[in-house]
């Protein structure tokens, strides 16, 4: 089969690889009908997530049709079922899974010992997301093996098009969880750093959960336009105005009730000097992540407010404004999305027409053109927000 593989930092290529096979009784093999490139795939492309190997198949947002099933996955699933697969690989049996914390499943990472060295305890395995997260082949391919298919694969029984349900695999639950974890009260103001796919869907979700105002911060006018026109946000271009001052002004001095960092480890700063400072430290590995958005979110948030860090981080950051965070009674939440917890309720909302996440799609490419898709997406060419791939 064809699959998009990581070759070296800043290089991916579509290669011929063997077809996947069932390795465990609870596995399924899925013929991919649609997949997508995620913002976090760019961290892999750029080489900021450790433990990648030449030839790793990328991609953790995908859906398709079941073509093969292990013998114990046959209870709820049949060959021929159309399914969306959540990106965290979760067993459903450990205490974390049973408490709904699927992205920290205790059993699904065969490389848990490496992850423990890096992070203290191991999170779940993730499709196509480095060997630190298990070394699982990803879904930017014609076929993919899905472990614990009975837990990870959600059957789509009606004729909703792929475009409407594909994002149940990651960015919709991720954006939704970002908003949900802010404990939004009616009328709250929520500020969101990053107008990428997660920021856009967090905006929509925040409104669904009762936010009065959502303010989105980015530097790409086309993305801010999408946030305004499609998601109903107010916007700040951080290259044009000072974010802290503007947020203070917009909220008459209070600051937003909740702040979502939907940027993560490769943030940019309006000041070229400050950006260069963090970029240089990242290059020599004094810090692995550039937390501009997180710092700004903490300083902006109202006293007693909530910070939700949903953007992906990999390692260590510097200049964390702990004094502001502690003295002002802030709360921080975080996590890779516990996708399996949100898939069903969000599918219901899509069915009822409350959310249609397909507005973020700007590019539909053939699997064959995936490397070009990474390029367009990374360099923000052609007003790119989200690339989906067809086999």
């Amino acid at each position: 089969m064809k699959a998009n593989c990581w070759i070296a930092p800043n290089r991916v290529a579509v290669e011929d690889v063997p077809d996947p096979q069932i390795l465990n009784p609870r596995d399924a093999v899925v013929r991919v009908t649609s997949s997508a490139i995620c913002g976090s795939d760019l961290h892999l492309l750029d080489g900021f997530i450790p433990a990648m190997k030449r030839g790793d198949i990328l991609g953790h947002e995908f859906m398709g049709e079941i073509v093969e099933l292990g013998q114990s996955a046959r209870d709820g699933l049949r060959v021929g079922d159309r399914v969306v697969v959540g990106f965290p690989i979760a067993c459903g049996d450990c205490i974390s899974c049973q408490n709904g914390l699927y992205s920290v499943c205790e059993n699904s990472n065969p490389n848990a010992a490496i992850a423990e060295l890096a992070m203290g305890h191991s999170p779940a395995g993730i499709f196509g997301y480095s060997h630190l997260m298990g070394g699982y082949a990803g879904g930017q391919a014609q076929y993919v093996r899905v472990p614990y298919a009975d837990v990870g694969a959600l059957k789509i029984e009606d004729d909703l098009p792929d475009e409407k349900v594909l994002f149940l695999s990651d960015v919709l639950p991720t954006g939704y969880m970002a908003a949900e974890q802010c404990d939004i009260k009616p009328g709250d103001t929520v500020a969101i750093w990053g107008a990428g796919p997660v920021g856009q869907l967090a905006t929509v979700s925040a409104y669904l959960l009762g936010a009065g105002r959502v303010i989105v911060i980015d530097r790409y006018p086309y993305r801010l336009r999408m946030a305004r026109d499609k998601a109903g946000a107010e916007t700040i271009n951080y290259e044009e105005t000072d974010v802290l001052d503007t947020l203070r002004e917009m909220t008459a001095g209070r600051g937003p009730d909740a702040c979502i960092d939907a940027v993560g480890m490769e943030g940019h700063h309006a000041s070229a000097a400050l950006h260069a400072y963090d970029r240089a430290k990242q290059a020599v590995k004094v810090e692995t992540d550039r937390p501009h958005a997180l710092r700004e979110a903490i300083l902006s948030c109202r006293n007693g407010g909530t910070i939700m860090a949903i953007g992906a981080y990999g390692g260590f950051i510097d200049k964390f404004p702990m004094g502001s965070f502690m003295n002002r009674s802030l709360t921080m939440r975080s996590g890779q999305a516990h996708v399996q917890r949100y898939m069903r309720p969000l599918l219901e909302r899509i069915r009822r027409g409350e959310i249609d996440p397909s507005f973020i799609i700007t590019h539909t490419l053939r699997l064959h053109d995936t490397p070009q898709g990474y390029d367009i997406f990374k360099n923000k060419q052609e007003d790119c927000v989200k690339v989906i791939l067809k086999p």
Binding site: C5, K53, P110, N111, A113, A137
Partner: protein, 318 residues
């Protein structure tokens, strides 16, 4: 200072810890730091005190010794465990004794008297260093000898967990170094473990203590080539968090060659292996299968981790 041995509520001796030798090593580290700083900062006065203020070379040697002491201090104070770093001080002491002896040969009167005091002090320090290092080495040997511990929490009741373990024939499902375990009677079983070069080691084991839902202890019967034993305990984790499983393995190390064979029979590194075993045990008892990825098709194994394959499917086995 002394060896502390902890016996737990179920009557099993827990880790014997020698806090004394660690504390002594730390103390010596601080002494090194003090000596180093003194020798470097108060050079001439120290030289005078030792009776070598008459020679440029001797003052240089003293400074070099001071710098070296800082090295000892770093080796003893920076690592989480000082371990065998005390031996660096013993080596330093030998150098110092030799240098002092050399200096005594061509000095007379007051200087010689001071050098004699220095020599006596050095001899005393050497004795302490030797004692500390030998003790640390002996403790270390006891630690590396055949014992390994591990623990894991599983989302199953103590009853389920105990029953799964009690059937020793289940063990090879998650203990990769075991080829098979066959029950020969209710208390006895025949174990086969993988050994190097495709060979195997066999022994007969018997259950010596069996408290339902709490504890199982077993040991090889007399005459086993690799005498060994182990225990596994099950305790309910507070607040319905499943069961805490704690396993201890012991194997005697009768001789060098046999010791190596024993080590192989239990894997290259028993401590690491026990951690892998427990991870796989948790996977098997909770999910019914071993977690396998394309990078790690054989499942969790710290040893295999470095040789991991790219995350892409293996060619289909015909």
């Amino acid at each position: 200072m002394g060896v502390r041995s902890v016996t737990d509520t179920l009557g099993i001796e827990r880790a014997a810890q020698d806090r004394g030798s660690e504390g002594l090593a730390r103390l010596l580290g601080w002494v090194s730091l003090g000596l180093g700083v003194t020798a470097l900062a108060g050079g001439s006065r120290v030289a005078q005190a030792c009776g070598v203020d008459d020679s440029r070379t001797a003052r240089m040697v003293l400074r070099a010794a001071g710098a070296r002491e800082l090295g000892h201090a770093a080796a003893l104070l920076i690592p989480r465990r000082a371990g065998l770093a005390g031996w660096t001080r013993v080596a330093g002491d030998v150098l110092d004794l030799a240098a002092t002896g050399q200096a005594m040969r061509n000095r007379r009167g007051e200087r010689r008297r001071r050098l004699a005091y220095t020599m006596a002090a050095l001899a005393g320090i050497t004795a302490v260093d030797l004692y500390a290092s030998i003790r640390a080495t002996q403790r270390r040997r006891v630690y590396d000898g055949g014992r390994a511990y591990g623990s894991v929490t599983v989302n199953r009741t103590p009853e389920e967990t105990y029953n799964f373990w009690h059937d020793f024939e289940n063990l090879p499902r998650f203990m990769y170094h075991l080829e098979s375990v066959r029950r020969t009677d209710p208390r006895r079983s025949r174990w086969t473990a993988k050994a190097p070069a495709g060979r195997s080691v066999q022994w007969e084991a018997e259950i010596i203590e069996d408290r339902p839902n709490q504890l199982i202890r077993w040991r090889s019967v007399d005459g086993a080539r690799v005498p060994n034993g182990g225990s596994v305990r099950f305790m309910p984790a507070a607040g319905n968090r499943g069961t805490e499983v704690r396993i201890e393995l012991e194997y005697s190390v009768p001789g060098r060659a046999m010791g190596r064979l024993a080590a192989r029979a239990f894997g290259e590194n028993p401590q690491q292996q026990i951690c892998d075993d427990l991870r796989r045990f948790k996977q098997v008892i909770e999910t019914g299968e071993i977690a396998r990825s394309d990078g790690m098709p054989d499942g969790t194994s710290v040893r295999a981790q470095a040789r991991q394959r790219p995350a892409r499917p293996l060619a289909r086995i015909a």
